[in-house]
């Protein structure tokens, strides 16, 4: 067998309601609104590029993220990022690519106006990658992320940052690399 020089333990980020993080009493369950928050505005002036509701032209069939992918919710539970890597197993020191789809949490329907940026850190080392990944939107509504490289062994946090106008919300995945 090809003795894996470097192998990957691919951990999805624990959703914040997992064991170890008690939901504070009186709060609603994760993924729904934070207490006191008004319902998201579809026509917010602060959300440049968001589609207007009623004035939209002929409805376009919604696109869906593929099934069976790894996915992770953003840290405040608004979105979910579905993703896969190429090669399928990320190895230390070897360049890799990612493909990602952004949906709302609880839905597989792609959010058409959201943008994505990707980055990674090693929190224990206080540094990130020595590469600048490039994210390009694909025809199928997904995002292709190129130029990734994890050069050191240890725990990497991979970030999928979802942009909606002036706001960015992060989803993250922890990986342990040899």
């Amino acid at each position: 067998m090809k003795a894996g020089v470097l192998c990957l333990v691919y951990l999805t980020a624990l959703p914040w309601t997992s064991a170890g993080c008690r939901v504070p009493e009186g709060r609603s369950a994760p993924g729904t609104t934070v207490e006191g928050e008004s319902t998201p505005r579809a026509d917010s002036a602060a959300r440049a590029g968001a589609p207007d509701g009623p004035s939209r032209a002929a409805p376009v069939p919604a696109r869906l993220a593929p099934e069976g992918l790894q996915s992770v919710a953003t840290n405040l539970g608004t979105f979910r990022v579905h993703h896969r890597s190429d090669p399928a197993t990320i190895e230390r020191g070897k360049p890799f690519r990612l493909q990602a789809w952004i949906t709302r949490e609880g839905s597989r329907e792609i959010v058409p106006w959201a943008e994505l940026s990707v980055d990674a850190d090693m929190p224990e080392h206080l540094h990130g990658m020595n590469r600048v990944p490039k994210v390009t939107r694909q025809q199928d509504g997904s995002f292709l992320v190129e130029g990734m490289l994890f050069h050191m062994p240890g725990r990497w946090d991979l970030y999928f940052d979802v942009h909606e106008a002036a706001i960015v919300e992060r989803a993250q995945v922890a990986l342990d690399l040899w």
Binding site: R92, G93, W178
Partner: protein, 386 residues
């Protein structure tokens, strides 16, 4: 796959005093870490150099390598600073060609396996790096025109060149690129053989307890440190014992040394290099190396970062660090242990290195471990002019 413990002596039942020689055991994680490290049989080919695997090109490169006539003063060849008799480097702290340079000469043993070339990663291919010392005024001080003259003046050289490239001798950058590719083809052959460490790793992988016993105990303790509490493998990672990237150790400043920006300058030079992997002289302008250039951007943190050298054959390449400021491996390990004299990086910067506070025996053990990374030198006929 089951991994059998390497050195096992049935432990006495009573409470354990200070561990005796015989009862030392590798931690499970360390055993697994070592077993993982299987070297690639050969370095991956470099498609940007179409002559890389051609024996004729390698022979031509070997001629160039030992030819002092290429240099401006006729006295400096590649072998002057990368001496086969001295581990393909020299005992000088700072390499001296025609004049003094500012850095220690890296070894060329296994150089084909590297991702970036030069302490600052100034080149992304071996052949483009070979051109740099050829032209550098303090190193060989040559030029494309000087190279052409030297080729024309040497019938053997001219003949072999004609055989590979045709009757008309190229000029300018094209000629330099050809020379670099020949040199790279030769350097690819400077491969070292398996080391005692490789035999240990293979034994662990195959469950060969007998085979593993040949590995010296002191070095085994050193391995436990290297992959354990000393955590050297954090940067000296993988079977090549380097993450092929760049770090700032905060080395003690050397009096009188010029400022060396390291990766920050190296990356700037790489991005403006006319021989880079996506340039007209590359034979794989759209290959993987070329594409990676689009993802490199100079950042301020690169200042003072230097390439993590491979630790294979490190016993052959004293003195150490990009300044050559540590004469022995003990000095290097002692620096990591105490961080004495480490340069202040400003207390607003991060410090990733922490002093290891090793004991003297532990320092010896780490040095012993490093000694087991030595492999056989390339065949004798590659160590001199053809």
């Amino acid at each position: 796959m089951l991994l059998v413990a390497t050195i096992l002596v049935a432990r006495a039942v009573a409470a354990a005093p200070a561990p005796s020689e015989e009862s030392f055991q590798l931690d499970e994680r360390v055993r697994a870490a070592i077993a993982r490290l299987e070297r690639e049989r050969a370095p991956a080919p470099d498609p940007t150099n179409r002559h890389e695997l051609d024996p004729r090109a390698a022979r031509l490169g070997q001629r160039l390598y030992f030819d002092a006539g290429l240099s401006a003063n006729g006295a400096v060849s590649c072998a002057s600073c990368h001496d086969p008799a001295q581990g393909f480097t020299t005992r000088d702290a700072l390499a001296t060609g025609i004049g003094a340079t500012a850095r220690n000469a890296p070894t060329l043993l296994d150089v084909s396996r590297r991702r970036w070339f030069g302490w600052g990663g100034r080149n992304d291919t071996l052949w483009s790096q070979a051109i740099v010392p050829l032209l550098a005024p303090h190193e060989m001080g040559s030029s494309a025109a000087d190279l052409a003259r030297a080729i024309e003046a040497n019938p053997a050289l001219r003949g072999e060149w004609r055989e590979l490239h045709g009757d008309t001798l190229a000029a300018g950058d094209e000629l330099l690129a050809q020379a670099g590719k020949h040199l790279a083809a030769y350097q690819r052959l400077l491969a070292t053989g398996p080391s005692a460490f490789d035999r240990l790793a293979a034994a662990l992988r195959s469950g060969d307890a007998q085979g593993a016993k040949h590995y010296p105990l002191q070095a085994l303790r050193g391995a436990a440190l290297f992959f354990g509490k000393a955590n050297c493998r954090s940067c000296h990672a993988g079977p090549e014992f380097t993450d092929e990237e760049f770090h700032d150790l905060g080395l003690p400043p050397v009096r009188g040394a010029k400022r060396d920006e390291g990766r920050r300058e190296g990356l700037r030079q790489l991005l403006s290099d006319r021989f880079r992997a996506d340039s007209a002289h590359s034979d794989a302008r759209e290959g993987e190396r070329a594409r990676e250039l689009a993802h490199l951007a100079p950042v301020d943190e690169d200042w003072g970062r230097f390439k993590t050298p491979s630790l294979r054959n490190v016993t052959r390449t004293a003195p150490y660090m990009h300044t050559g400021q540590f004469a022995t491996l003990r000095d290097v390990v002692r620096f990591y242990s105490t961080l004495e004299g480490a340069a202040a990086r400003g207390h607003h910067g991060e410090t990733v290195l922490q002093p290891l506070n090793l004991t003297e025996p532990e320092i010896d053990e780490l040095v012993a471990f490093l000694g087991t990374l030595e492999g056989d030198l390339p065949p004798e006929h590659l160590l001199r002019a053809p």
